[in-house]
Amino acid sequence: MSLISVRDLVVRIGDRVIASVPELDVAAGECVALVGESGSGKTTTLLATLGLVRGADVSGKITVGDVDVLAASPARLREIRGSRAALVMQSPQAALNPTMRLGTLMRRALARHGVKGAAARERAREAVRAVLLDPEILRRYPHQVSGGQAQRFAIALALALGAQVVLADEPTSALDVTVQAEVVAVLRRLRDERGLAMLLVSHDLALVSTIADRVVVMRDGAVVESGSAADVFGRPRDPYTRELIAAVPALPESAEER
Protein backbone atom coordinates (compact mmCIF):
# COMPACT_ATOMS: atom_id res chain seq x y z
CA MET A 1 0.00 0.00 0.00
CA SER A 2 1.20 3.49 -0.76
CA LEU A 3 2.01 5.64 2.24
CA ILE A 4 2.31 8.65 -0.03
CA SER A 5 0.03 9.05 -3.01
CA VAL A 6 -0.12 12.05 -5.34
CA ARG A 7 -2.63 12.39 -8.21
CA ASP A 8 -2.87 15.23 -10.71
CA LEU A 9 -0.88 17.63 -8.56
CA VAL A 10 -0.64 21.11 -10.07
CA VAL A 11 1.02 23.98 -8.19
CA ARG A 12 0.44 27.41 -9.72
CA ILE A 13 1.57 30.90 -8.94
CA GLY A 14 -0.79 33.11 -10.95
CA ASP A 15 -0.82 31.59 -14.44
CA ARG A 16 2.51 29.91 -14.07
CA VAL A 17 2.68 26.20 -13.30
CA ILE A 18 5.69 25.61 -11.05
CA ALA A 19 5.09 21.89 -10.51
CA SER A 20 2.87 19.40 -12.26
CA VAL A 21 2.96 15.75 -11.24
CA PRO A 22 0.25 13.44 -12.63
CA GLU A 23 1.10 10.42 -10.48
CA LEU A 24 3.49 9.62 -7.66
CA ASP A 25 3.32 6.78 -5.15
CA VAL A 26 5.69 5.77 -2.40
CA ALA A 27 5.08 2.44 -0.68
CA ALA A 28 6.37 1.24 2.68
CA GLY A 29 9.99 0.13 2.38
CA GLU A 30 10.50 2.07 -0.82
CA CYS A 31 12.59 5.11 -1.74
CA VAL A 32 11.44 7.31 -4.59
CA ALA A 33 13.71 10.14 -5.74
CA LEU A 34 12.72 13.39 -7.41
CA VAL A 35 15.69 14.62 -9.43
CA GLY A 36 16.25 17.71 -11.51
CA GLU A 37 17.99 21.07 -11.44
CA SER A 38 17.10 24.34 -9.73
CA GLY A 39 13.64 25.46 -10.74
CA SER A 40 12.54 21.97 -11.77
CA GLY A 41 9.74 21.86 -9.20
CA LYS A 42 11.16 18.94 -7.23
CA THR A 43 11.23 20.73 -3.86
CA THR A 44 7.80 22.27 -4.49
CA THR A 45 6.44 18.78 -5.08
CA LEU A 46 7.96 17.51 -1.84
CA LEU A 47 6.63 20.45 0.17
CA ALA A 48 3.17 20.11 -1.40
CA THR A 49 3.06 16.54 -0.14
CA LEU A 50 2.95 17.87 3.43
CA GLY A 51 0.74 20.85 2.60
CA LEU A 52 3.67 23.22 3.09
CA VAL A 53 3.47 25.22 -0.16
CA ARG A 54 2.64 28.86 0.60
CA GLY A 55 1.47 31.61 -1.72
CA ALA A 56 0.50 29.25 -4.52
CA ASP A 57 -2.61 27.42 -5.70
CA VAL A 58 -2.37 23.70 -5.16
CA SER A 59 -4.83 21.32 -6.82
CA GLY A 60 -5.10 17.55 -7.15
CA LYS A 61 -5.23 14.84 -4.54
CA ILE A 62 -2.48 14.08 -2.02
CA THR A 63 -2.72 11.32 0.56
CA VAL A 64 -0.21 10.65 3.32
CA GLY A 65 -1.18 7.53 5.25
CA ASP A 66 -4.96 7.91 5.46
CA VAL A 67 -4.97 11.69 5.51
CA ASP A 68 -6.22 13.73 2.57
CA VAL A 69 -3.62 16.53 2.78
CA LEU A 70 -5.40 19.18 0.73
CA ALA A 71 -8.67 18.71 2.63
CA ALA A 72 -7.15 18.34 6.11
CA SER A 73 -7.55 20.92 8.88
CA PRO A 74 -4.45 22.85 9.99
CA ALA A 75 -4.46 20.90 13.27
CA ARG A 76 -4.54 17.57 11.45
CA LEU A 77 -1.70 18.69 9.15
CA ARG A 78 0.41 19.67 12.16
CA GLU A 79 -0.19 16.23 13.59
CA ILE A 80 1.03 14.51 10.40
CA ARG A 81 4.10 16.69 10.24
CA GLY A 82 4.80 16.13 13.91
CA SER A 83 4.47 12.41 14.16
CA ARG A 84 3.79 10.60 10.90
CA ALA A 85 6.09 12.22 8.42
CA ALA A 86 9.61 13.40 9.02
CA LEU A 87 10.84 16.32 6.99
CA VAL A 88 14.63 16.30 6.66
CA MET A 89 16.13 19.44 5.18
CA GLN A 90 19.57 20.50 4.04
CA SER A 91 20.67 22.26 7.27
CA PRO A 92 19.33 20.36 10.27
CA GLN A 93 21.28 22.40 12.80
CA ALA A 94 19.22 25.45 11.90
CA ALA A 95 16.06 23.54 12.82
CA LEU A 96 17.26 22.53 16.30
CA ASN A 97 16.72 24.90 19.24
CA PRO A 98 20.28 25.95 20.15
CA THR A 99 19.53 26.47 23.87
CA MET A 100 18.41 22.89 24.53
CA ARG A 101 20.35 19.68 24.83
CA LEU A 102 19.36 17.17 22.13
CA GLY A 103 17.90 14.87 24.79
CA THR A 104 15.69 17.66 26.18
CA LEU A 105 14.57 18.51 22.69
CA MET A 106 13.58 14.93 22.05
CA ARG A 107 11.86 14.46 25.42
CA ARG A 108 9.78 17.60 24.92
CA ALA A 109 8.68 16.40 21.49
CA LEU A 110 7.77 13.00 22.97
CA ALA A 111 5.90 14.63 25.85
CA ARG A 112 3.70 16.46 23.37
CA HIS A 113 2.70 13.02 22.11
CA GLY A 114 2.06 11.69 25.61
CA VAL A 115 5.29 9.72 26.05
CA LYS A 116 7.01 10.65 29.32
CA GLY A 117 9.51 9.59 31.96
CA ALA A 118 11.44 6.34 31.61
CA ALA A 119 9.50 5.37 28.50
CA ALA A 120 10.53 8.62 26.81
CA ARG A 121 14.18 8.15 27.77
CA GLU A 122 14.19 4.60 26.44
CA ARG A 123 12.46 5.66 23.23
CA ALA A 124 15.01 8.44 22.72
CA ARG A 125 17.98 6.10 23.19
CA GLU A 126 16.51 3.52 20.88
CA ALA A 127 15.83 6.07 18.11
CA VAL A 128 19.34 7.50 18.36
CA ARG A 129 20.86 4.02 18.10
CA ALA A 130 18.73 3.30 15.03
CA VAL A 131 20.55 6.10 13.20
CA LEU A 132 23.93 4.75 14.37
CA LEU A 133 24.60 7.48 16.91
CA ASP A 134 25.90 6.97 20.44
CA PRO A 135 23.15 7.85 22.97
CA GLU A 136 25.81 10.01 24.67
CA ILE A 137 24.92 12.58 22.01
CA LEU A 138 21.64 13.29 23.84
CA ARG A 139 23.64 15.23 26.44
CA ARG A 140 25.04 17.62 23.87
CA TYR A 141 23.81 20.94 22.52
CA PRO A 142 23.22 21.41 18.77
CA HIS A 143 26.45 23.40 18.32
CA GLN A 144 28.43 20.54 19.83
CA VAL A 145 27.56 18.05 17.09
CA SER A 146 28.70 17.84 13.49
CA GLY A 147 26.45 18.39 10.48
CA GLY A 148 26.16 14.68 9.81
CA GLN A 149 25.29 13.97 13.45
CA ALA A 150 22.67 16.73 13.46
CA GLN A 151 21.18 15.33 10.26
CA ARG A 152 20.94 11.85 11.76
CA PHE A 153 19.51 13.25 15.00
CA ALA A 154 16.77 14.99 13.01
CA ILE A 155 15.90 11.60 11.50
CA ALA A 156 16.00 9.96 14.96
CA LEU A 157 13.61 12.58 16.32
CA ALA A 158 11.07 11.66 13.67
CA LEU A 159 11.59 7.95 14.32
CA ALA A 160 10.99 8.39 18.05
CA LEU A 161 7.67 10.01 17.24
CA GLY A 162 6.72 7.02 15.10
CA ALA A 163 7.17 8.45 11.61
CA GLN A 164 6.51 6.00 8.80
CA VAL A 165 7.31 8.44 6.06
CA VAL A 166 10.53 10.40 5.52
CA LEU A 167 10.64 13.35 3.14
CA ALA A 168 14.20 14.50 2.58
CA ASP A 169 15.23 17.59 0.62
CA GLU A 170 18.92 17.46 -0.35
CA PRO A 171 19.69 15.85 3.02
CA THR A 172 23.39 15.35 2.29
CA SER A 173 24.38 18.18 -0.04
CA ALA A 174 25.85 20.27 2.80
CA LEU A 175 27.87 17.32 4.10
CA ASP A 176 31.34 16.01 3.33
CA VAL A 177 31.40 12.95 1.06
CA THR A 178 32.50 10.57 3.81
CA VAL A 179 29.72 11.82 6.11
CA GLN A 180 27.23 11.76 3.25
CA ALA A 181 27.94 8.06 2.81
CA GLU A 182 27.07 7.48 6.49
CA VAL A 183 23.78 9.35 6.27
CA VAL A 184 22.78 7.47 3.12
CA ALA A 185 23.66 4.18 4.82
CA VAL A 186 21.33 5.13 7.69
CA LEU A 187 18.50 6.01 5.29
CA ARG A 188 18.90 2.70 3.46
CA ARG A 189 18.85 0.78 6.72
CA LEU A 190 15.68 2.50 7.92
CA ARG A 191 13.98 1.82 4.62
CA ASP A 192 14.97 -1.85 4.64
CA GLU A 193 14.63 -2.69 8.34
CA ARG A 194 11.76 -0.46 9.41
CA GLY A 195 9.91 -0.27 6.12
CA LEU A 196 9.90 3.51 5.99
CA ALA A 197 8.54 5.15 2.86
CA MET A 198 11.01 7.74 1.56
CA LEU A 199 10.62 10.60 -0.81
CA LEU A 200 14.05 12.04 -1.58
CA VAL A 201 14.78 15.25 -3.46
CA SER A 202 18.30 15.54 -4.83
CA HIS A 203 20.27 16.99 -7.69
CA ASP A 204 22.99 14.37 -7.20
CA LEU A 205 22.23 11.59 -9.64
CA ALA A 206 25.06 9.33 -8.54
CA LEU A 207 23.89 9.53 -4.94
CA VAL A 208 20.28 8.88 -5.95
CA SER A 209 21.33 5.83 -7.95
CA THR A 210 22.72 4.21 -4.79
CA ILE A 211 19.50 4.49 -2.77
CA ALA A 212 16.40 5.08 -4.91
CA ASP A 213 14.14 2.26 -6.05
CA ARG A 214 12.31 4.53 -8.45
CA VAL A 215 13.22 7.89 -9.97
CA VAL A 216 11.15 10.81 -11.25
CA VAL A 217 13.07 13.30 -13.42
CA MET A 218 11.63 16.83 -13.42
CA ARG A 219 12.38 19.86 -15.54
CA ASP A 220 10.69 23.28 -15.52
CA GLY A 221 7.91 21.99 -13.29
CA ALA A 222 7.06 18.93 -15.37
CA VAL A 223 7.89 15.24 -15.15
CA VAL A 224 10.04 14.33 -18.17
CA GLU A 225 10.73 10.71 -17.25
CA SER A 226 10.01 8.25 -14.48
CA GLY A 227 10.63 4.60 -13.85
CA SER A 228 12.75 2.16 -11.90
CA ALA A 229 16.20 3.47 -11.00
CA ALA A 230 17.76 0.74 -13.13
CA ASP A 231 15.77 1.83 -16.19
CA VAL A 232 16.17 5.58 -15.76
CA PHE A 233 19.91 5.41 -15.15
CA GLY A 234 20.64 2.39 -17.35
CA ARG A 235 18.39 3.19 -20.33
CA PRO A 236 17.37 6.84 -20.11
CA ARG A 237 14.77 7.68 -22.75
CA ASP A 238 14.49 11.44 -22.40
CA PRO A 239 17.32 13.59 -23.85
CA TYR A 240 17.29 15.76 -20.72
CA THR A 241 17.82 12.72 -18.49
CA ARG A 242 20.75 11.74 -20.72
CA GLU A 243 22.17 15.25 -20.44
CA LEU A 244 21.97 15.14 -16.64
CA ILE A 245 23.67 11.76 -16.54
CA ALA A 246 26.43 12.90 -18.90
CA ALA A 247 27.16 15.93 -16.69
CA VAL A 248 28.00 13.84 -13.61
CA PRO A 249 31.78 14.05 -13.15
CA ALA A 250 33.06 10.49 -13.32
CA LEU A 251 35.82 8.98 -11.24
CA PRO A 252 38.35 6.85 -13.06
CA GLU A 253 38.03 3.15 -12.34
CA SER A 254 40.16 1.84 -9.54
CA ALA A 255 43.41 0.20 -10.63
CA GLU A 256 43.07 -2.44 -7.94
CA GLU A 257 41.41 -5.78 -8.36
CA ARG A 258 38.20 -5.66 -6.41
Partner: protein, 326 residues
Protein backbone atom coordinates in the same frame (compact mmCIF):
# COMPACT_ATOMS: atom_id res chain seq x y z
CA UNK B 1 58.55 28.92 -13.30
CA UNK B 2 56.24 28.50 -10.36
CA UNK B 3 53.71 31.29 -10.17
CA UNK B 4 52.50 30.85 -6.61
CA UNK B 5 53.73 28.45 -3.96
CA UNK B 6 53.31 27.63 -0.30
CA UNK B 7 56.60 26.48 1.20
CA UNK B 8 56.36 24.77 4.57
CA UNK B 9 53.44 26.95 5.55
CA UNK B 10 51.97 26.70 9.05
CA UNK B 11 48.87 28.75 9.80
CA UNK B 12 47.35 29.38 13.19
CA UNK B 13 44.47 31.16 14.84
CA UNK B 14 45.84 32.21 18.22
CA UNK B 15 47.62 29.23 19.71
CA UNK B 16 45.79 26.72 17.52
CA UNK B 17 47.58 25.68 14.35
CA UNK B 18 45.07 24.72 11.64
CA UNK B 19 47.52 24.11 8.80
CA UNK B 20 50.83 22.36 9.44
CA UNK B 21 53.91 22.61 7.25
CA UNK B 22 52.11 22.53 3.89
CA UNK B 23 53.92 22.92 0.58
CA UNK B 24 52.06 23.40 -2.69
CA UNK B 25 53.12 24.85 -6.05
CA UNK B 26 50.94 26.33 -8.79
CA UNK B 27 51.72 27.09 -12.36
CA UNK B 28 49.78 26.76 -15.64
CA UNK B 29 46.90 24.29 -15.57
CA UNK B 30 45.09 22.87 -12.60
CA UNK B 31 46.24 21.82 -9.17
CA UNK B 32 43.77 20.15 -6.84
CA UNK B 33 43.49 20.54 -3.09
CA UNK B 34 41.16 17.95 -1.68
CA UNK B 35 39.79 18.19 1.81
CA UNK B 36 36.63 18.09 3.85
CA UNK B 37 35.23 20.68 6.22
CA UNK B 38 37.65 21.46 8.99
CA UNK B 39 40.67 20.29 6.99
CA UNK B 40 42.13 23.81 6.84
CA UNK B 41 41.68 24.12 3.09
CA UNK B 42 39.91 27.49 3.19
CA UNK B 43 42.48 28.96 5.62
CA UNK B 44 45.21 27.76 3.27
CA UNK B 45 43.42 29.41 0.34
CA UNK B 46 43.26 32.66 2.29
CA UNK B 47 46.99 32.47 2.99
CA UNK B 48 47.69 31.90 -0.72
CA UNK B 49 45.68 35.06 -1.43
CA UNK B 50 47.74 37.00 1.10
CA UNK B 51 44.80 37.40 3.48
CA UNK B 52 46.33 35.37 6.31
CA UNK B 53 49.99 35.57 7.28
CA UNK B 54 51.84 32.29 7.84
CA UNK B 55 52.97 31.55 11.40
CA UNK B 56 55.98 29.95 9.76
CA UNK B 57 56.97 29.15 6.18
CA UNK B 58 56.59 31.36 3.12
CA UNK B 59 53.99 32.02 0.43
CA UNK B 60 55.95 32.87 -2.69
CA UNK B 61 54.62 34.85 -5.64
CA UNK B 62 57.14 34.10 -8.39
CA UNK B 63 60.42 34.40 -6.54
CA UNK B 64 59.18 36.94 -3.99
CA UNK B 65 57.83 36.47 -0.47
CA UNK B 66 54.18 37.54 -0.55
CA UNK B 67 54.42 39.04 2.94
CA UNK B 68 57.30 41.29 1.86
CA UNK B 69 55.69 42.76 -1.29
CA UNK B 70 55.52 46.53 -1.54
CA UNK B 71 52.50 48.52 -2.64
CA UNK B 72 53.01 48.06 -6.39
CA UNK B 73 53.92 44.40 -5.94
CA UNK B 74 50.70 43.80 -4.03
CA UNK B 75 48.64 45.56 -6.69
CA UNK B 76 50.22 43.37 -9.35
CA UNK B 77 49.57 40.27 -7.20
CA UNK B 78 45.92 41.16 -6.65
CA UNK B 79 45.42 41.36 -10.35
CA UNK B 80 47.34 38.20 -11.23
CA UNK B 81 45.74 35.97 -8.60
CA UNK B 82 41.96 36.10 -8.36
CA UNK B 83 39.76 34.31 -5.83
CA UNK B 84 36.46 32.59 -6.60
CA UNK B 85 34.54 31.43 -3.56
CA UNK B 86 31.67 29.00 -3.18
CA UNK B 87 28.97 31.61 -2.99
CA UNK B 88 29.19 34.06 -5.85
CA UNK B 89 27.04 36.58 -4.03
CA UNK B 90 29.95 37.42 -1.68
CA UNK B 91 32.00 38.69 -4.59
CA UNK B 92 29.21 40.86 -6.01
CA UNK B 93 27.98 44.21 -4.72
CA UNK B 94 24.22 43.78 -4.15
CA UNK B 95 23.54 47.28 -5.46
CA UNK B 96 25.40 46.83 -8.75
CA UNK B 97 24.20 45.14 -11.91
CA UNK B 98 26.24 42.23 -13.22
CA UNK B 99 27.45 44.41 -16.08
CA UNK B 100 28.59 47.16 -13.71
CA UNK B 101 30.42 44.66 -11.47
CA UNK B 102 32.32 43.22 -14.41
CA UNK B 103 33.02 46.68 -15.88
CA UNK B 104 34.40 47.84 -12.54
CA UNK B 105 36.91 44.99 -12.59
CA UNK B 106 37.79 45.71 -16.24
CA UNK B 107 38.49 49.40 -15.68
CA UNK B 108 40.46 48.98 -12.46
CA UNK B 109 43.40 47.90 -14.55
CA UNK B 110 42.74 49.15 -18.10
CA UNK B 111 41.35 52.28 -19.67
CA UNK B 112 38.77 51.26 -22.24
CA UNK B 113 36.25 52.94 -24.49
CA UNK B 114 32.59 52.50 -23.64
CA UNK B 115 31.98 50.30 -26.73
CA UNK B 116 35.04 48.17 -26.01
CA UNK B 117 33.86 47.70 -22.41
CA UNK B 118 30.42 46.62 -23.55
CA UNK B 119 31.88 44.11 -26.01
CA UNK B 120 34.24 42.74 -23.41
CA UNK B 121 31.45 42.31 -20.81
CA UNK B 122 29.37 40.46 -23.40
CA UNK B 123 32.29 38.23 -24.33
CA UNK B 124 33.01 37.41 -20.66
CA UNK B 125 29.36 36.59 -20.02
CA UNK B 126 29.33 34.37 -23.11
CA UNK B 127 32.46 32.61 -21.80
CA UNK B 128 30.61 31.58 -18.66
CA UNK B 129 27.51 30.63 -20.64
CA UNK B 130 25.31 33.61 -19.82
CA UNK B 131 23.18 35.70 -22.19
CA UNK B 132 24.03 39.43 -22.55
CA UNK B 133 20.70 40.34 -20.89
CA UNK B 134 22.10 39.20 -17.51
CA UNK B 135 24.29 42.33 -17.52
CA UNK B 136 21.27 44.43 -16.51
CA UNK B 137 20.41 42.32 -13.45
CA UNK B 138 21.39 42.74 -9.82
CA UNK B 139 22.52 39.78 -7.70
CA UNK B 140 19.10 39.24 -6.06
CA UNK B 141 17.53 38.98 -9.52
CA UNK B 142 19.74 36.05 -10.46
CA UNK B 143 19.82 32.36 -9.53
CA UNK B 144 22.73 31.01 -7.48
CA UNK B 145 24.28 29.49 -10.58
CA UNK B 146 24.01 32.76 -12.49
CA UNK B 147 25.62 34.69 -9.62
CA UNK B 148 28.50 32.24 -9.43
CA UNK B 149 29.08 32.53 -13.17
CA UNK B 150 29.02 36.34 -12.98
CA UNK B 151 31.56 36.15 -10.13
CA UNK B 152 33.81 33.98 -12.32
CA UNK B 153 33.37 36.37 -15.28
CA UNK B 154 34.36 39.24 -12.96
CA UNK B 155 37.46 37.35 -11.79
CA UNK B 156 38.42 36.63 -15.42
CA UNK B 157 37.87 40.27 -16.47
CA UNK B 158 41.28 41.34 -15.16
CA UNK B 159 42.97 38.55 -17.15
CA UNK B 160 44.47 36.84 -14.12
CA UNK B 161 47.24 34.29 -14.42
CA UNK B 162 45.86 32.19 -11.62
CA UNK B 163 42.48 31.54 -10.03
CA UNK B 164 42.10 30.26 -6.48
CA UNK B 165 38.74 28.49 -6.55
CA UNK B 166 37.24 27.34 -3.24
CA UNK B 167 34.42 24.87 -3.94
CA UNK B 168 33.41 26.92 -6.99
CA UNK B 169 30.82 24.52 -8.33
CA UNK B 170 29.45 22.74 -5.30
CA UNK B 171 26.35 24.96 -5.16
CA UNK B 172 25.66 24.62 -8.89
CA UNK B 173 23.50 22.27 -10.91
CA UNK B 174 25.44 19.49 -12.63
CA UNK B 175 24.94 20.84 -16.16
CA UNK B 176 26.14 24.31 -15.08
CA UNK B 177 29.06 22.73 -13.22
CA UNK B 178 30.05 20.82 -16.36
CA UNK B 179 30.02 24.06 -18.30
CA UNK B 180 32.22 25.93 -15.79
CA UNK B 181 34.70 23.05 -15.75
CA UNK B 182 34.86 23.12 -19.56
CA UNK B 183 35.53 26.85 -19.44
CA UNK B 184 38.43 26.37 -17.00
CA UNK B 185 39.91 23.63 -19.18
CA UNK B 186 39.66 25.87 -22.24
CA UNK B 187 41.21 28.92 -20.54
CA UNK B 188 44.07 26.78 -19.28
CA UNK B 189 44.68 25.36 -22.77
CA UNK B 190 44.29 28.62 -24.70
CA UNK B 191 45.64 31.25 -22.32
CA UNK B 192 47.84 29.29 -19.94
CA UNK B 193 45.58 30.12 -17.01
CA UNK B 194 46.55 28.34 -13.82
CA UNK B 195 44.15 27.45 -11.07
CA UNK B 196 44.05 25.93 -7.64
CA UNK B 197 40.85 23.98 -7.30
CA UNK B 198 39.84 23.38 -3.70
CA UNK B 199 37.09 20.82 -3.41
CA UNK B 200 35.88 17.67 -1.76
CA UNK B 201 34.64 16.36 -5.11
CA UNK B 202 37.16 13.89 -6.47
CA UNK B 203 35.36 13.65 -9.81
CA UNK B 204 36.00 17.34 -10.41
CA UNK B 205 39.74 17.25 -9.64
CA UNK B 206 40.10 14.06 -11.65
CA UNK B 207 38.96 15.86 -14.71
CA UNK B 208 40.78 19.17 -14.26
CA UNK B 209 43.92 18.78 -12.21
CA UNK B 210 47.21 17.20 -13.19
CA UNK B 211 48.41 17.01 -9.61
CA UNK B 212 46.54 17.06 -6.32
CA UNK B 213 47.14 17.15 -2.60
CA UNK B 214 44.87 15.61 0.01
CA UNK B 215 44.55 17.60 3.21
CA UNK B 216 43.50 16.00 6.50
CA UNK B 217 43.45 17.97 9.77
CA UNK B 218 45.68 20.64 8.24
CA UNK B 219 48.32 18.25 6.93
CA UNK B 220 48.97 17.01 3.41
CA UNK B 221 48.62 13.25 3.80
CA UNK B 222 49.10 12.33 0.15
CA UNK B 223 50.10 14.28 -2.96
CA UNK B 224 51.03 13.40 -6.51
CA UNK B 225 49.56 12.92 -9.99
CA UNK B 226 45.76 13.10 -9.65
CA UNK B 227 45.22 10.01 -11.79
CA UNK B 228 47.43 7.98 -9.44
CA UNK B 229 45.65 9.28 -6.35
CA UNK B 230 42.27 8.33 -7.77
CA UNK B 231 43.10 4.97 -9.32
CA UNK B 232 45.69 3.81 -6.78
CA UNK B 233 45.23 5.82 -3.59
CA UNK B 234 47.63 4.81 -0.86
CA UNK B 235 46.78 6.82 2.23
CA UNK B 236 43.76 5.30 3.99
CA UNK B 237 42.13 8.75 4.06
CA UNK B 238 42.50 9.17 0.29
CA UNK B 239 41.01 5.69 -0.05
CA UNK B 240 38.12 6.60 2.25
CA UNK B 241 37.42 9.75 0.23
CA UNK B 242 37.43 7.87 -3.03
CA UNK B 243 35.30 5.03 -1.71
CA UNK B 244 32.71 7.45 -0.30
CA UNK B 245 31.94 8.99 -3.69
CA UNK B 246 28.69 7.52 -4.96
CA UNK B 247 28.95 6.16 -8.49
CA UNK B 248 26.14 6.21 -10.97
CA UNK B 249 24.59 2.76 -10.89
CA UNK B 250 27.28 1.56 -8.49
CA UNK B 251 27.08 -0.17 -5.15
CA UNK B 252 26.39 2.12 -2.19
CA UNK B 253 29.61 3.35 -0.60
CA UNK B 254 30.91 1.33 2.34
CA UNK B 255 30.89 3.07 5.70
CA UNK B 256 32.93 2.61 8.84
CA UNK B 257 30.78 4.29 11.47
CA UNK B 258 33.84 6.26 12.62
CA UNK B 259 33.72 9.00 10.00
CA UNK B 260 33.03 11.73 12.49
CA UNK B 261 35.79 10.85 14.97
CA UNK B 262 37.93 13.91 15.67
CA UNK B 263 41.55 13.94 14.47
CA UNK B 264 43.86 12.30 17.00
CA UNK B 265 45.85 14.79 19.08
CA UNK B 266 49.04 12.71 18.95
CA UNK B 267 50.58 10.19 16.59
CA UNK B 268 48.91 9.95 13.19
CA UNK B 269 45.92 12.34 13.13
CA UNK B 270 43.90 9.87 11.04
CA UNK B 271 44.45 6.83 13.27
CA UNK B 272 41.07 6.97 15.06
CA UNK B 273 39.32 6.59 11.72
CA UNK B 274 41.87 4.34 10.09
CA UNK B 275 41.14 0.70 9.29
CA UNK B 276 44.90 0.00 9.12
CA UNK B 277 46.03 1.69 12.34
CA UNK B 278 48.62 -0.21 14.39
CA UNK B 279 50.45 0.67 17.62
CA UNK B 280 53.12 2.60 15.76
CA UNK B 281 50.46 5.03 14.46
CA UNK B 282 49.57 5.93 18.03
CA UNK B 283 53.18 6.47 19.06
CA UNK B 284 54.68 8.21 16.08
CA UNK B 285 53.27 10.73 13.59
CA UNK B 286 54.15 9.61 10.06
CA UNK B 287 56.14 12.09 7.99
CA UNK B 288 55.46 12.53 4.28
CA UNK B 289 57.86 10.48 2.19
CA UNK B 290 58.34 9.62 -1.47
CA UNK B 291 56.65 6.33 -2.36
CA UNK B 292 56.22 5.31 -6.01
CA UNK B 293 55.81 8.72 -7.57
CA UNK B 294 53.79 10.32 -4.82
CA UNK B 295 54.31 11.62 -1.30
CA UNK B 296 52.45 9.81 1.47
CA UNK B 297 52.36 10.32 5.21
CA UNK B 298 51.48 6.78 6.29
CA UNK B 299 53.57 4.17 8.10
CA UNK B 300 51.94 1.40 6.10
CA UNK B 301 52.21 2.92 2.60
CA UNK B 302 54.49 0.18 1.22
CA UNK B 303 52.20 -2.55 2.55
CA UNK B 304 49.21 -0.89 0.89
CA UNK B 305 51.06 -0.60 -2.41
CA UNK B 306 52.13 -4.22 -2.28
CA UNK B 307 48.50 -5.27 -2.23
CA UNK B 308 47.20 -5.11 1.33
CA UNK B 309 43.49 -4.50 0.87
CA UNK B 310 42.70 -1.50 3.05
CA UNK B 311 39.32 -2.79 4.13
CA UNK B 312 40.41 -6.24 5.26
CA UNK B 313 42.47 -5.44 8.31
CA UNK B 314 41.05 -4.71 11.69
CA UNK B 315 42.11 -1.62 13.54
CA UNK B 316 44.06 -2.09 16.73
CA UNK B 317 41.44 -2.09 19.46
CA UNK B 318 38.29 -1.93 17.33
CA UNK B 319 36.68 -3.57 14.36
CA UNK B 320 35.34 -1.42 11.56
CA UNK B 321 31.62 -2.09 11.49
CA UNK B 322 31.37 -1.74 7.73
CA UNK B 323 34.53 -3.65 6.87
CA UNK B 324 34.48 -7.36 6.13
CA UNK B 325 36.44 -9.52 8.56
CA UNK B 326 39.38 -11.44 7.21
Amino acid sequence: MTLLAAEGVTLAYGATAVVHDVSLAMDEGGVGLIGESGSGKTTLARALLGLVRPRSGVVRYGSRDLAALGRSGRAEFRRAVQPVFQDGSEALDPRMTAGASITEALTTHHRMSRAARRDRVEALLADVGLAPAIAARRPHEMSGGQRQRVAIARALAVEPRLLVLDEPTSALDVTVQARILELLERLAAEHGLGYLLITHNLGVVGRLCRTSSVLFAGRVVESGPTGELLTRPVHPYTRALRDAVPRLGGEPPATTGRTEAAPAPSGCPFRLRCPLAVDRCRDEAPLPREVEGRKVACHRAEEVLSGLPASSTSRAGGEASGAPRQ
